[in-house]
Symmetry: D2
Subunit: 150 residues, 4 copies
């Protein structure tokens, strides 16, 4: 929520995040891409597309949740070590406005990096004519899986 | 989760649910279909597919959340009236096991039907060789939008 | 999350909030008091006390959740109308650090005021020697009950 | 929620749970007691009392959340090992009916025991004249802290 600065343990975190993101085939299905990345933060953008909608023509809550979840996972992953993996323990999302416009962008931030558990928050904005409107807020819990799996 | 029986207000609820489901283009993108429907309950199945995965080759948490969300929305919608609409207020999901196998199925149940708010729960199972393993549990809140939008 | 300004419908909201708060006997049991109040925001402080602890001597997660819930309810209630009531639909809280020190303070903010549903966020800080450390983050959903109960 | 049977690693789990519960001073403040305990499950009962109420005279959502949280923590703790500690990572609760009557009881069940993370669900019932009515459902995530703190 605040402008907290986090320090990374793996200076090569960006390559690690982008390789993992590229391996998430569901991101390609959604047309999602990472548009910002830094220590403890990741933003993912998904263009409005005819195959991503709910019954009223808005972006499906599940699609918004998906980019929030991936963004939070990678926000947490920026602060982990080489060889670590990251998984979602759980997440919760409130849909506060229907998401219309040309795209949605999820901005995830680490709340507190942990040796095992990393809680994150995310805000999802609908983008219309370049203007952003908040359409969802999420709270997410990520877990670090070290190389030995312990 | 229990065997509570709910009575419907709109005997033609199934047509109403299936029309709305058909209008959710994201369900087609996921290859999702309704496999069971009754008063206060809806099950949605999604076949494992190469475009729905996270970085380790399992079904993406967001895809699991999406079918849980739609199933809960339609479970709630079975108990609403003709002319009503349904929207997700919020949902929370715990991922308890990686989802591998040939499909995932979300089974959503209404906890208590409300004039405005309908809380639901859902369990998501991974299906392998016809055997089901629990991979996620969710708790979801739906809202009824009456015809006058009030 | 941001410095959004909300406008009130009931200029006498503070009296209404404080009367409701005074009627919450559980707040007195916790030694909790409102320490800040404004349109769309409410902060509640609870002194560390020997009867509020979990098994390791920290403030119980349930006590932290309670002040977050009340703070969010009253943050939402500041924006409602005279005669309205407010209830919690649901909330979710992540405990990010043990809460030690001389007090805890929950700072709740409205995300978006709604005619029916008002989503809020809250941060809970542990206070030690006047210094605040984040110990929990919450996301909460409040509902307005209008005078006619509809 | 289902009839899953769990096997314990520590046959003396009941003593361990009851000692930890006795150390939670907040349980005494609430007048809460363990009324059932078994592998992967724990029920906690709290009598209705004048100091536990919200503004309309019902049991406060925070008090209901507290017994759900403790019940889930101890449900998870029954399956851990001697020397382990248990903490709440996060929880989410839906309030589905106002809680009136002579008591409330939270019934928590482990969804899946984990080496690190144990997700649980809980149902909270209001008890009136010995009859139980569901008033809240919760989903909770517990973490095992092994003796070496790792």
């Amino acid at each position: 929520m605040t402008g907290t600065e986090f320090s990374v343990r793996d200076p090569d975190y960006e390559r690690r995040v982008r390789e993992s993101f590229a391996a998430q085939s569901f991101m390609a299905t959604l047309g999602a891409e990472i548009v910002a990345l830094g220590p403890g933060r990741c933003d993912i953008r998904m263009a409005y597309a005819p195959g991503l909608l709910q019954q009223d023509g808005f972006l499906h809550a599940g699609a918004l949740a998906t980019i929030a979840d991936s963004a939070a996972g990678y926000a947490a992953y920026t602060l982990m070590e080489s060889g670590d993996r990251v998984l979602s323990v759980e997440f919760k999302i409130n849909l506060v406005r229907p998401a219309a416009g040309e795209a949605a962008v999820a901005r995830a931030r680490v709340v507190k990096p942990g040796r095992t558990i990393t809680p994150c928050t995310a805000e999802v904005f609908a983008v219309r004519d370049g203007h952003e409107t908040l359409c969802a807020v999420a709270q997410l819990t990520m877990i670090r899986i070290p190389p030995d799996g312990s």
